[in-house]
């Protein structure tokens, strides 16, 4: 076993003792969210008739226990939250659905008039050292050498399917058989553990103390905890030595604030295949297992299968009766090949996969058929709290904040305008941005400096319109599941939305901007990590170049959002730069949207200009990539031009080199394109170079009339990169270089001519607007 036990004999396997239902303290080990445990725990309460049931659940909820018995629609959760001295907020859930053993125990106990109590250590004691926010996820059992070994032996994919094989499918198992088997299982699992986490020991000690307290009041007690803890608690009670039963200190944590409340939950969040950090897969399937518990002959997959087929047919998939029969027989045969007493989750998924899907299944992509299966297995139940439940803490918090800052929405709308550089108005702005993130109704930002488009930066201001809307309250309550305080809820919401799989890196960069606007810099770290992941995955240069722009802004120019404090931002910048180079080189031939590619190259240059020293970016890599792009004969001339221009700007190319490449691009179809690219990146540099101008002139001089006409449109585009003054300057230089004495017409416009041309322009615009040919006016005025 690789580990020496202190004394083998002292770890006595007293399964008989722990299974004795006549003892004063009896234990029921659960796997959270298991229909089988739910059924058997009811049976156990009826059989043992305890005076009190003690349940693994946060002890600080005991004062509100009555609220649990209001008529809620499940699933709901107990939500516990803390705020530490360092101002970070943390929250955790104890979710219940209809088939949660804890829930059934509470219900039956209530019915029989048995006292109920939660006995687990309040989450606030663990919050800073334990990141698991789903407290009923059976995490202790998932990562165990023993479970892995059993999985290999019984050909199970993971703990979930192992549990199903050993317990959940055994519909006819009796209470005593179950207790014996599960206690044995947990005993072995725990026995092989190399180290028991200190947090678990603390919790057990706390629960043990609660049991001892209860023993003074009640004669017969039923203790319902995760199977992992049962034997340890029993061992403490019987003073048997067992791993992880030593005494530990339970100091009170230093917290600024803490609270606990009920909150609505959903199957979607409960499903481990969808939500992260969730306990059991496919809650909808187990709901069916639970509903069918009284009629074990009824195979629960049949109802689910017919629902699935209804859904598929609604989606216009052809599923004939013959297909239905095929799925059914395949599922039955798979179950029998695998030795399942009835058709189970995997059997049905595999049967659908095998007999309905007539195409390649790409493991990297979501298959619509399988997605429909998982949707049916997930179920769509959403919880709702009884109206008698006290308002969620988030709603109270939002009201308080709005009243404090005199922002509470009234029936008559009010416009607020402020300078966000100023401290108090920035606080208000943060609150409103946070509300906007959560989608709370009634608050809209109507104008102001736009950080996403980077316009109007002279003064940082915002204008908000605030008005009461009938959805104000309900949208607050809906957001309650995200936390108990506005700021925390907004952060949780952003974190959740950042997990979306189909998001691009640009969208993620925008989320970061939003979080900075809302003053949520605490989540910055996590959001940057996610951005980093998305940058690595990003496959589109044009999108990445937008991302680059936002990151560059946050890194270089931001003074008031406070984003530069994140060391990670620099790393993200490096990564984005690298990725930009990779994508630029792998761009393939571009024929459309080339100007966006130029912009992208421009952002790369800008990052290089401003950050290369600070960030230690490798010049060699940047230059070699640009060289390869500029000499890639498969690439279009304009992109090659832009890369050449960039090299010139970096002083890695010189006028002579470019002149010689001009020879290559001298064909009339190519010249203009090449110059467009070149001018886009090296507009400044080129004005200082007479040699190149002469060269272009020479190339043009060699064209005959037809060739010139071919070259003309692209050349025109190329020269639009220069302003009239720059063009004038170029013309003067050209004439000089050609030794022509004449000077071009002076670039001076008299007032009269300017006025005439302005009024002419005005007339044109009027006509255009009259016929509705022009879009909306810029200031948001009347429609054109």
């Amino acid at each position: 076993m690789g580990r020496v036990l202190p004394s083998e004999e002292s770890f006595a396997l007293d399964i008989e003792g722990i299974c004795n239902l006549n003892a004063d303290v009896v234990f029921f080990p659960v796997r959270h969210h298991s229909p089988l445990c739910a059924r058997l725990v009811e049976e156990m309460i009826y059989e043992c008739k305890p005076e009190a049931v003690l349940i693994e659940g946060p002890v600080d909820f005991n004062p509100h226990l009555a609220e649990i018995h209001f008529s809620h629609r499940l699933p709901i959760a107990i939500y516990s939250y803390v705020r530490t001295k360092e101002e970070s907020s943390l929250g955790a859930y104890y979710p219940f659905c209809e088939y949660s053993p804890e829930w059934r125990a509470l219900k039956v106990a209530q019915k029989l008039g048995v006292s109920q109590e939660f006995i687990d250590l309040p989450w606030s004691h663990l919050a800073q050292k334990d990141e698991r926010v789903h407290r009923y996820a059976d995490t202790e059992m998932r990562h165990s050498e023993y479970v892995d070994r059993l999985c290999r032996l019984l050909f199970c994919r993971n703990f979930d399917s192992l549990w199903d094989t050993l317990f959940e499918m055994q519909q006819n198992i009796t209470l005593s058989e179950f207790l014996e088997r599960f206690h044995n299982f947990c005993y072995a699992l725990r026995y092989e553990e190399t180290e028991i986490h200190l947090n678990e020991t603390k919790r057990e000690q706390f629960m043990f103390e609660k049991i001892q307290e209860a023993q003074k009041k009640y004669k017969k007690i039923l203790v319902i905890t995760g199977g992992y803890h049962s034997f340890a608690l029993y061992a403490r009670l019987q003073k048997i030595s067992f791993p992880g039963t030593k005494e530990v200190a339970l100091p009170n944590p230093e917290l600024a604030e803490q609270g606990i409340a009920l909150t609505p939950y959903s199957f979607e969040r409960l499903d481990s295949l969808k939500g992260y950090n969730a306990g059991m897969p496919s809650p909808g399937f187990y709901q069916k297992v639970w509903e069918n518990r009284l009629t074990p002959d009824l195979q629960c997959h049949q109802a689910l299968l017919s629902r699935l087929i209804r859904i598929l047919r609604k989606k216009k998939q052809v599923v004939s009766s013959a297909d239905w029969i095929a799925v059914e027989t395949t599922a039955q045969s798979l179950a029998s090949l695998r030795g399942h007493p009835q058709v189970w989750r995997d059997d049905l998924v595999d049967a659908v996969r095998s007999s309905l899907i007539k195409e390649e299944i790409d493991s990297q992509k979501e298959n619509p058929f399988l997605a429909a299966v998982y949707q049916v297995f997930r179920g769509e139940n959403r919880g709702e709290l009884s109206s008698k439940t006290s308002l969620p803490p988030l709603v109270k918090n939002i009201r308080r904040l709005l009243e404090e800052h005199k922002l509470f929405p009234l029936r008559e709308y009010k416009i607020h305008k402020w300078d966000i550089a100023e401290k108090t108005s920035r606080e208000k702005s943060h609150i409103l941005h946070q509300l906007k993130i959560l989608g709370i109704q009634g608050f809209s930002r109507i104008s102001g400096s736009d950080l996403t488009k980077k316009t109007d930066f002279v003064e940082l201001w915002e204008e908000w319109k605030i008005v009461w809307s009938p959805e104000f309250d309900s949208s607050c309550i809906e957001s309650a599941a995200y936390g108990t305080e506005l700021k925390e809820a907004a952060m949780a919401y952003l974190l959740e939305s950042s997990q979306n799989d189909e998001m691009t890196s640009e969208e993620m960069a925008l989320i970061i901007l939003r979080s900075a606007l809302a003053g949520l810099n605490e989540v910055g770290e996590k959001l940057y990590q996610r951005l980093n992941q998305l940058i690595l995955k990003e496959g589109n240069f044009l999108i990445l170049s937008q991302t680059l722009r936002h990151i560059l802004y946050l890194y270089c120019y931001d003074e008031f959002l406070g984003t530069r404090q994140f060391p990670l931002l620099g790393e993200v910048l490096d990564e984005a730069f690298q990725r930009g180079l990779w994508l630029l080189e792998g761009l393939g031939q571009v024929s459309e949207k080339t100007e966006k590619v130029f912009l992208g190259i421009g952002y790369l240059l800008e990052i290089w200009d401003r950050c290369s020293e600070e960030r230690n970016l490798s010049p060699e890599e940047f230059v070699t990539v640009l060289q390869r792009v500029s000499t890639d004969s498969g690439q279009s001339p304009d992109i090659r031009g832009a890369a050449t221009g960039a090299l010139w700007k970096l002083k890695e190319a010189n006028s002579e080199g470019i002149q010689s490449s001009l020879v290559y691009f001298a064909q009339p179809q190519k010249l203009g394109d090449f110059l467009t690219g070149l001018f886009s990146t090296a507009r400044e540099t080129i004005q200082r170079d007479k040699g190149l101008l002469l060269h272009i002139d020479k190339a043009l001089g060699n064209y005959n009339y037809d060739e010139f006409l071919i070259a003309l449109p692209a050349l025109r585009l190329a020269f639009t990169y220069f302003t009239p003054r720059e063009k004038h300057y170029l013309a003067t230089h050209l004439l000089e270089a050609l030794n022509i004495r004449e000077t071009p017409l002076p670039l001076e416009v008299s007032t009269e001519i300017a006025l005439v041309s302005l009024s002419w322009e005005e007339k044109i615009f009027q006509v255009v607007e009259k016929y509705g040919l022009r879009g909306r006016k810029q200031n948001g005025g009347a429609n054109g």
Partner: protein, 385 residues
Amino acid sequence: MPRQISQKTASQKKKSSSSEEIQKPSAEIFYQEELNKLAKEDKKLPRPKGWFLTPQSVLKFILGDEEAGADPKFVGERSTIERCIVALATNRGLMLIGEPGTAKSYLSELLAAAISGDSTLIVQGSAGTSEDNIKYSWNYALLLAEGPSAKSLVPAPVYRGMNEGKLVRFEEITRCPLEIQDILLSVLSDRVMSIPELPDESRTLYAKNGFNVIATANTRDRGINEMSAALKRRFNFETISPIQNLSEEISLVQRETARLLERAEIPVSLPPEMAKILVTTFHELRQGKTGDGKSLDPLSSVMSTAEAVSVSYAAGIHSYYYGKEKGEKKEKKIEAEHLVQNLVGSAIKDNPDDLKKLRHYFNHIVKKRKGKAWEEYYQAKNHLL
């Protein structure tokens, strides 16, 4: 009824050409002992009619089982094989699809060997496959002399499979014209074949228990989309995906390369670090993602495990005949440059875009990898021209 693998056919084959001389013995001959042992053990257990082994034993044979003394033969998920076996036990055919080089044909051979004890009833689909190659044709001399009779009929694989109650393997079915594919319609749904030329009493051939069809199709050629809906619904489809686990793939490539080189009597072996580099390259370019999560443009060439084996095999031969002797022992070793040179010929073939992507991969990814082997690999990139 369990049967012994027909000793006659096996020994006949042996007699005609001892297994030494056979370039590649079929699975039921190669694994004859294993199969007979499994058959002996599950003799009394129930099974689908006409099957040589029980479904459980088929699973053990393919994925390996220590107790039953069976070596693992196919690297893949258990549930995939379970679905295949179940499909063959129901009244639908089994269609294995996937990228080329994912061992579809090998899996079908193993299944046929384990279920029917005979994996040789093969129809090779091609543009030239005709009805005669699938059902039956005639011995024309006899036909002219005696008229149509069972004697003058020359059975093709599907006829034999139905008549003997065995699995028939239809390779690359999508390469056949559609009307030829559709010959299987009545065979699969009604399990009969009519032979209108024969006299009334033998005009209809009814399939014996144990008959079914395993077809394979690769997703690169003319796809399965063109297949008729009627035929599609008579098959259960199973996607055979490339090996997901890098270390499993590395060891498979090493094992297979060693086997091929040994057979070719070339005393060179693929060093583990080279195997790792080669398979990592294949793995990453196939998945379009590097180990640390950067996404890449996947190549359009097939980057299958089989291709990786052929690259390393070719590199082995290359290093043996043209490599330099190195070290004290004057040994010849497969080096990074051999791999890179053969990557171009064996894997990338003629696609210039892919070559560009591969160079891109070297310039950005390989270059940054640490370690001597990766550096040598990067140095060899000038062969990618």
